[in-house]
């Protein structure tokens, strides 16, 4: 899986979870950039991402993840395990 593919699938997940078809993701996208991305929606987002990529993100990674770029890196690392 390439990083581009990860972004493509992530965009789809973000658009469904936040019910907003206009969302565009970049490496530097953070919760500041998306209206409904609060700590509660973060949980749903992680669950949806885990399901989408069939991975389990470890606790430490969930808490330290700073932006979508880091999320993509974690997904790549976890799915190659």
């Amino acid at each position: 899986m390439t990083r581009e593919e990860v972004f493509e699938r992530l965009t789809d997940v973000f658009r469904t979870v936040f019910d907003d078809e206009t969302i565009e993701l970049s490496d530097s996208t953070t919760s500041e950039d998306i209206d409904d991305w609060d700590s509660f929606e973060h949980i749903n987002l992680i669950v949806a991402v885990e399901e989408e990529f069939s991975i389990n993100i470890p606790m430490g990674e969930v808490t330290t993840m700073k932006n979508v770029g880091e999320m993509a890196d974690i997904i790549l690392a976890e799915s190659s395990k």
Binding site: V13, T16, D19, I43, V47, A48, V62, T63
Partner: protein, 596 residues
């Protein structure tokens, strides 16, 4: 919405809940309901997903959510916010993480008994406080099993074990629920086991987010509690309508013959269908009406039920539509025959094409995706919660009987050319008087279930019914009707409140199974009698149209009221001037009031 029907895809619900919510909010005619969720853990998504399932049941919930783990304080101490919210339902959403003190290995049996008592009393005090202060329905989670067992298997049998402790605590909760009205246990102990405790209790979600269950398990949890709520709100299904070939037995009776269909104990497939038939029979005992809807020649098809080894017999069904009509039409006809609405039906058929026809033509009827494996039929119908039981009254258990008796009445009607003579022949007796304690639960149930003969569609919880019965400025009347064929139980309720010398009718309902029996006139007579004894000069009636109550649009005109007001939405107000020379309208029902 199909995505919210069991078996649903939890992951999809979590991912698309915003979209689903938007769509569901467009449905017309939603019943508002105030629910306070007092949580012992994070409840955010529990509430959001409950909202989806409730919207799907036609209920529009408004929520109060306690701050994280403030359930006890919210319930026990003065709480202006919750008081102002006036909840209809308080849901205490606690988990085994909220148990304050478990037995230690060194504890004596006295210490363990004390811990159990402490833990239980803390909850019981809370329930009693809520019941006296908020007078609302209470739903309480029981406890799921712990995710580890210190002693292994012995944890279940040894009083020091957590499994043992939780089991005892759950039993105490059950005893309270069994002896208390308007109090219901949300059985997460079962639902977590069914889901799989290991996945359900994944500690990741507790340590990360303070969720006491894993987020992917939340749809199962929320669906399960929503079923209790819709049942309390009178939104259960009332009829289980079944196809026959490959639904009640294996094979096609028209081709194979009654001797060759698969049922009974001879083959695994036969046993599977027999087990399903037993399940259906038990559902009938709950008061759910059983009917047939099958494309067959009637006599041939009934041979299948007349086999000695058939669990279900032709007599178990109150109505049989066995013909070559489209099944959707059979369903709509059945609804008319039973004086029920098509949306109170659950239609079970192994054939996806038949399911689709009914789904497309009878909106509101439930058509579960039971698949093509008979061994899974029970699971899917059971977990769908169509008939979730919150109160089991004697009336419920007798309902199939009552409908069969009604069929006999219809039969006897054919012998009369004069309807009045027919009514006379029924030898009807009614009890029509002030609410009495024995019927509070049935009265409240009726206010929540009646949709068609219902002038205002005002719903009452049992505590509200008890409150108006107790209030001198209200006139409350129930009517119970029996005849030579049998007892119909409580079938009509009127609630009026008095302002000065006027009585305003808040509620007038009647069960459709006693339509055209003059019961509404008998009720009017007693209402007038009570009003006159209180020196009331006039009665004001209200009609608020809904999608379902068109049959009573002109009800007050029939009773001799005059229309005094009508607005654009069709809401009408009616007035009846009382005078001492009121002539009784009921001619056929003998009133026998037993006193309290």
């Amino acid at each position: 919405m199909k995505e919210l029907e069991y078996p649903f895809n939890s992951e999809e619900i979590i991912r698309r809940k915003k979209q689903f919510r938007k769509q569901l909010l467009k449905n017309p005619g939603l019943t508002p309901l105030k629910i306070a969720v007092l949580g012992g853990a994070t409840t955010n998504d529990i509430v959001k997903i409950m909202e989806l399932f409730l919207l799907n049941y036609g209920i529009c919930p408004e929520f109060y959510e306690s701050e994280y783990n403030r359930y006890y304080e919210d319930a026990m101490f003065p709480n202006p916010e919750l008081e102002a919210f006036k909840p209809d339902i308080i849901f205490i959403c606690t988990f085994n993480r909220n148990i304050t003190s478990y037995p230690e290995i060194g504890d004596t049996s006295d210490v363990i008994a004390g811990k159990l008592e402490n833990e239980y009393t803390r909850f019981e005090n809370m329930w009693k406080m809520i019941a006296s202060k908020y007078k609302c329905t209470i739903i309480q989670n029981n406890f799921e099993y712990p995710f580890f067992r210190l002693m292994g298997n012995r944890d279940a049998s040894d009083p020091h074990g957590r499994v043992n402790f939780i089991t005892k605590l759950n039993m105490r909760f059950n005893e309270y629920a069994d002896s208390t009205e308007n109090f219901y246990i949300h059985d997460i102990n079962y639902i977590s086991a069914s889901y799989g405790i290991e996945k359900w209790s994944d500690p990741f979600y507790w340590h990360m987010y303070k969720y006491a269950l894993s987020v992917p398990a939340i749809p199962d949890f929320s669906f399960n509690v929503s079923n209790i709520i819709k049942s309390v709100m009178g939104k259960n299904k009332k009829v289980l309508m079944l196809d026959m070939d490959n639904t009640l037995w294996g094979g096609v009776i028209g081709d194979d013959g009654a001797d060759n269909i698969e049922t009974g104990q001879e083959t695994p497939i036969g046993q599977t269908y027999s087990e399903f038939q037993s399940y259906v029979k038990s559902i009938g005992q709950l008061g759910v009406l059983l009917t047939l809807n099958s494309k067959n020649d009637e006599e041939t098809a009934l041979e299948g039920l007349r086999r000695d080894d058939s669990v279900l017999k032709p007599d178990d069904f109150v109505l049989k539509k066995i013909n070559w009509m489209p099944k959707s039409e059979n369903l709509i006809d059945s609804a008319k025959d039973l004086s029920l609405l098509p949306d109170s039906f659950v239609f079970v058929d192994d054939n996806p094409a038949e399911r689709e026809i009914v789904r497309a033509n009878v909106p509101g009827a439930a058509v579960p995706e039971i698949g093509d494996r008979p061994e899974h039929y029970i699971n899917i119908i059971d977990r769908s919660g169509f008939f979730e039981v919150t109160n089991l009254s004697k009336d419920d258990m007798k309902r199939n009987e009552m409908y069969k008796v009604n069929a006999k009445r219809m039969e006897s009607l054919k012998a009369f050319t004069d309807y009045g003579e027919y009514l006379k022949s029924l030898e009807m007796k009614a009890e029509i008087q002030d609410f009495i304690p024995a019927y509070m639960s049935r009265i409240s149930q009726l206010t929540n279930k009646s949709n068609q003969f219902n002038l205002t569609t005002k719903r009452y919880t049992q505590s509200e019914i008890e409150a108006v019965a107790d209030n001198d400025s209200y006139i409350t009347i129930y009517g119970k009707l029996a005849d030579k064929f049998g007892d119909n139980g409580v079938v009509s309720v009127v609630v009026g409140h008095i302002i000065g010398d006027e009585c305003h009718i808040d509620l007038w309902i009647m069960s459709c199974r006693v339509l055209k029996r003059d019961m509404e006139f008998a009720m009017m007579d007693i209402l007038v009698e009570k009003c006159l004894s209180k020196n009331i000069k006039s009665i004001t009636g209200y009609y608020y149209p809904t999608a379902k109550n068109a049959m009573v649009k002109e009800f007050y005109a029939l009773q001799g009221f005059e229309k005094v007001f009508e607005d654009e939405e069709g809401n009408t107000r009616w007035k009846f001037e009382l005078d001492k020379d009121y002539i009784k309208k009921n001619k056929y029902i003998h009133i026998e009031n037993s006193g309290k």
